[in-house]
Each structure stands twice: as C-alpha cells, then as structure tokens.
C-alpha cells in the first residue's frame, strides 16, 4: 500500500512514517551534532596519546637494541653508546618489591573494609585516609621515606624506593579492590553461607574469584603508575652505573635515568633518555596485556 495518509489520522501507521526522514529536521540535526561532538571528544583524547607514542617510537627506536637494554651505563654523560641495563634492572627490582608489599596488604585491607569493617568507625577512618592518600603528591611519599628511612639508615637503595612506591600503590589498590568486592552480589555470599561455609571461606572461595578480573585491573593500574613515578624514587634510590639486582646498595631506575639524561646537554645522553622512555612504555604495556590475559584465564567465565 503506497497511498499517503495524513499524518494526523489516528491509528493508521504507514511505512513512510518509519523512515528517518519522518523525524523533524531539528531532531536529525541535534542527533548529528551530538554524534560528531562525541567523536571529536574521543579524537581529542586519543590523538595526543597516539602522537606521543609515535614520537616516542621515532625518537627512541634508533637507539634500541638488546645491548642497549642490558649494557652498563657510561659514567660520562657525553659518551656515546652504553646502555640502560642498570635502570631496567632497578625498575624491575623496585616495582617488583613494591608490588610484593602493596598488593597483598592492599587486597587484604580491602577485604577487611568490605567484609568485616563495613561502616564501623575504624573502617570508616581507614577508608577516608586511603582516599586522602590517593591524592597526596608522590614526592611527599619520597620525602617521607627519605626522612624516616634513608636518613635513619644512612643508605640510598632500592629498598627505600620500593617503600616509597608501595606507599603510593597501597591506597590505589585498596580503593579499587574495595569497589570490585562491592560489585560482587550478596546473593553469592548468602549461597556460600547457607551451605555452611565460614565467612573467610566464602570470601576466599566465592567472593574473591568473582572479583578477580576487576582487582587485577586495579593492581595493574597501580603498578603502571608506580613504574612511571620519578619524584618519590629520585631522592632515595641513589645512583649506580652497573646493574644491581639487590635491594641494598645504590640503584637507579628508568624514570630516574630519563629525568637525568633528558637534562644533560649532550645528544648521547638525550638519546639514551628517549630509549629509556620507550623501554618504560613498552614494559608497562607488555605487563598490562599479560596481566589482562591472565585475569581472563582465571576469572569466572560466562559472566
């Protein structure tokens, strides 16, 4: 049927009225403007990231090589060649140990807040303080460790840097883990309890596995942040030109080296800075991808 009927005829729906063109002009324009605006926002957010990564790759790829990643650093800034081996080692050691400290403490703390503390005064205080700590400038963490640990022990080492990074990571991990645990529906907890499981048992065997993907994301974000922090570790880590796998003794790390080398007037040093920057981004990226993959493997499927 193709006869046209007045639009005001009640109860008669003709195919023509299903077309987009039957919407008023004003509505179609508004729709178009909204879609364009949203895409523009995405572009504004994504384009700088893409540009930064592209620039980084262009500047840093030239100096990249296995030797670069493992060789010792030259003592003189203007020396060509050498590598950032010690910085890579230092980053791995400090971030690794900081994670070892912050992740278990953070997850257990969040479990306490969600499952046991809830709205009690102690829990409320801890929650408030974790919130405040997420906003503290990272250099404060560095200063705190400097004053309380480094000055006391008279040592600059990776251990102090790890402590500073752990202070940084802990409130982040607590807050995101708490959010993820709150997302697990109470139904599941009731089901576990109704079967005669004790509370801690229910938490470990039902609640945590259900929240693991979200918790992993939160942990990875905290690790990525810690890996990139310069200020807290710069004060406390010292300096070394040779790879130091120990927590003790002076060490260095990628952000610290980037900072130092970028300030030097020598192109050799600047080159190393770019290479270090690219390395850092690559490490964090690989870490994130692997972590997400593992989280999906261990998480509850079909949810």
């Amino acid at each position: 049927m193709t006869e046209s009927v007045e639009a005001s005829a009640p109860g008669r729906q003709m195919p023509l009225e299903l077309r987009r063109s039957s919407l008023s002009r004003r509505r179609r324009i508004t729709d178009l403007v909204a879609v364009v605006a949203i895409f523009l926002c995405v572009a504004v957010a994504a384009v700088p990231v893409a540009l930064v990564v592209a620039y980084l790759v262009r500047q840093g790829a030239g100096v990249m090589s296995w030797e670069f990643l493992t060789a010792d650093m030259p003592r003189q800034a203007q020396t060509l060649g050498g590598g950032i081996g010690p910085a890579v080692v230092g980053t791995i050691v400090t971030v690794g140990f900081a994670s070892l400290l912050a992740v278990p403490l953070g997850i257990l703390g969040a479990i306490y807040l969600v499952e046991y503390g809830k709205q009690r005064p102690v829990a409320r205080t801890i929650r408030a303080m974790a919130d405040i700590m997420t906003g503290v400038p990272s250099i404060m963490m560095g200063l705190f460790i400097y004053v309380s640990f480094v000055l006391v022990t008279q040592n600059l080492n990776a251990l102090s840097a790890s402590l500073a990074l752990a202070c940084l990571m802990l409130p982040l991990i607590i807050r995101t883990t708490e959010e993820m645990l709150n997302l697990v529906p109470d139904d599941l907890r009731h089901a576990g309890l109704a079967l005669g499981a004790r509370k801690w048992r229910t938490i470990i065997s039902v609640v945590l596995p259900a929240a693991i993907p979200g918790i992993t994301s939160g942990v990875l974000l905290a690790v990525a942040r810690a890996a990139g922090e310069t200020a807290p570790i710069y004060l406390v880590i010292g300096l070394t030109y040779r790879a130091n796998w120990s927590l003790f003794g002076p060490n260095t790390s990628l952000p610290a080296q980037i900072f130092k080398n970028a300030q030097e007037p020598f192109p050799a040093a600047n080159e190393r800075a770019w290479g270090a920057a690219l390395t850092l981004v690559a490490i964090v990226f690989i870490f994130t991808v692997v972590g997400r993959f593992l989280a999906n493997r261990f998480s509850s499927r079909e949810r």
Partner: protein, 277 residues
C-alpha cells in the same frame, strides 16, 4: 470451599512419605530488626518428611521466619529472635550453638537462582569440599545431580559454567548443591517465583521426590503451589498497629487440605478464596 486445584499428582493425592516426628519447633517466636517487630508470636511444628508451606501476603514475615530457621538472619545487623526455636529439642539460638553447624544441617535455596560463577561440578562439590570431603567427589556430585533431576541434562558438560544454564536448570543446580551435603531440612524461599510454569512444575515434582529423604519448608506467594505441593500450610498475615507499622503474625497452621477446604479462621478463608491479598 475449594480453590481451583488441578487434578493430578499433588503432594496430597500421591502416596507420599509418612509424617515423621517433629524436627523443628517454634514456640512463641518473634523476630525483631532493632526495635521493629517484623513478625510476632509464631508457634509452629515442622514434621519430618513433610512439605510445609508458609503462605501469606507480602510483608507478613514468612521469609523472615524462614531465614530464622537456619540463622541466616544473623547477617542482618540488628536482627534478634525471641522465643524458643528448637531443632530436635535443642535451642537453635543458645549462645553455644555454632550457626555454621546449623546451616550444614538446614540448607537453603533462594528465590533468585544463585549458582557460583564456577563450573557445574565445582558448584555441587563446593559444600562437600568445605566439609572436608576429598575423595569420592565424582560419585557424590552425580548422586546430588540425580537427586535434583539435573544429571541427564548436564552429565556431558560438568566442567562448563553453572551460569550458562537456563533459569530452571540453575535453580535445580542450586538444589543439587544444597542436597549434596545431605542436610536434614531444606528451606526454600519462593524457589519458583523467578521461573516459568514448566520449570516450576519440574521443581514441584522434585520437591515431592525429595520429601522422601528430606524435610522441606517452602515460602511461596503462589497459593495454588502451596495447595498442590505441600502437606501442611501455615498462613501468615500482616497487621497494621495504631502507629501504622506492619507486623507479621501467624493466623493458622494446619494440614493443607484443611486450610484450603475448611479453614478455621475467617482471614484464612478470605485469603485462600481470593477475597483479599
């Protein structure tokens, strides 16, 4: 006066298990949330191998009473039970009683199916594992799934997620999970309200089969279900007091056939004939 009960195999018409002795006795039990009395002065007896239905309009305390039978109310802050609630003669709320042990003997199936986000096998084995059973799990899981009339449908996919099942299957999985630990009593809180009629019929058949081995207490909104599937029925109602707050109260407790054909209380008659509620 009868309500429209479909002819066929109801719990009352099929040869069912003989009623055993009283396993659960409530004597003047009231449940408070803080100062608010959710349900007052309930006195009931639950007999072994019988299906007891708790019916009544919304807000009359049926689920509250059900949850108090296995101490699930403990997890609601401010919840408090007065009166005597005894299980085989022992006070369930005595200070030395461990609620975990209570829940191992009195299981619960919830309104919305809540299987764990684990495989079907792990769902059923969960209760067994936490009780320390390490060997023979395969047989026990199979027995529980058969008991819940789910084995044939899932025997080839025991390792797939429990969440991939349909609603009715998920609820039967929850039942299998509950019976795997062999409780004495199974509490069911409106187990079919989230299911379609065919799944509901399967669960009601299942309840009939289970009543031979277990004692069942079921809360239901569906009067026809209570009439079809239960041996005893307790009718609750909500009373509004002078200050306007609602309190639940037990009106009548009797054999299902009596409640639905010849109730003693007028309020019961009005409810089952549909004149209110």
């Amino acid at each position: 006066m009868t309500i429209g009960v479909t002819r066929g195999t109801t719990a009352r018409e099929r040869p069912g298990p003989l009623a055993g002795p009283t396993v659960l006795e409530l004597s003047d039990v009231s449940v408070f949330y803080g100062d608010y009395a959710a349900v007052r002065n309930v006195s009931l007896e639950i007999a072994r191998n019988q299906i007891t239905a708790l019916i009544g309009p919304s807000g009359c305390g049926k689920s509250t009473i059900l949850r108090s039978l296995n101490r699930m109310n403990d997890h609601i802050p401010g919840a408090r039970v007065t009166g005597q609630l005894s299980f085989h003669g022992q006070d369930l709320y005595a200070p030395w009683v461990d609620p975990i042990q209570v829940r191992r003997r009195i299981g619960m199936v919830f309104q919305k199916p809540n299987p764990f986000p684990k495989s079907i096998y792990d769902n059923v084995a969960y209760g067994l594992r936490i009780n320390g059973t390490k060997s023979g799990l395969d047989d026990l899981v199979e027995r529980a799934l058969r008991g819940a009339a789910l084995w044939d449908e899932v025997k080839d996919k025991l390792r797939t997620s429990g969440l991939a099942l349909s609603g009715g299957q998920q609820q039967r999985l929850c039942i299998a999970r509950t019976i795997a630990v062999q409780p004495e009593i199974i509490l069911m809180d409106e187990p079919c309200s989230a299911l379609d009629p065919i799944a509901t019929a399967k669960i009601e058949d299942l309840m009939y089969e289970l009543s031979f081995d277990y004692t069942i207490v079921i809360v239901t909104h569906n009067m026809q279900q209570a009439a079809r599937a239960s041996h005893q029925t307790a009718f609750f109602t909500a009373e509004v007091d002078q200050r306007g707050s609602r309190h639940g109260r037990l009106v009548e407790f009797n054999d299902t056939s009596t409640i639905f054909t010849n109730p003693t209380e007028k309020r019961t008659e009005e409810y089952v004939t549909g004149r209110f509620g």
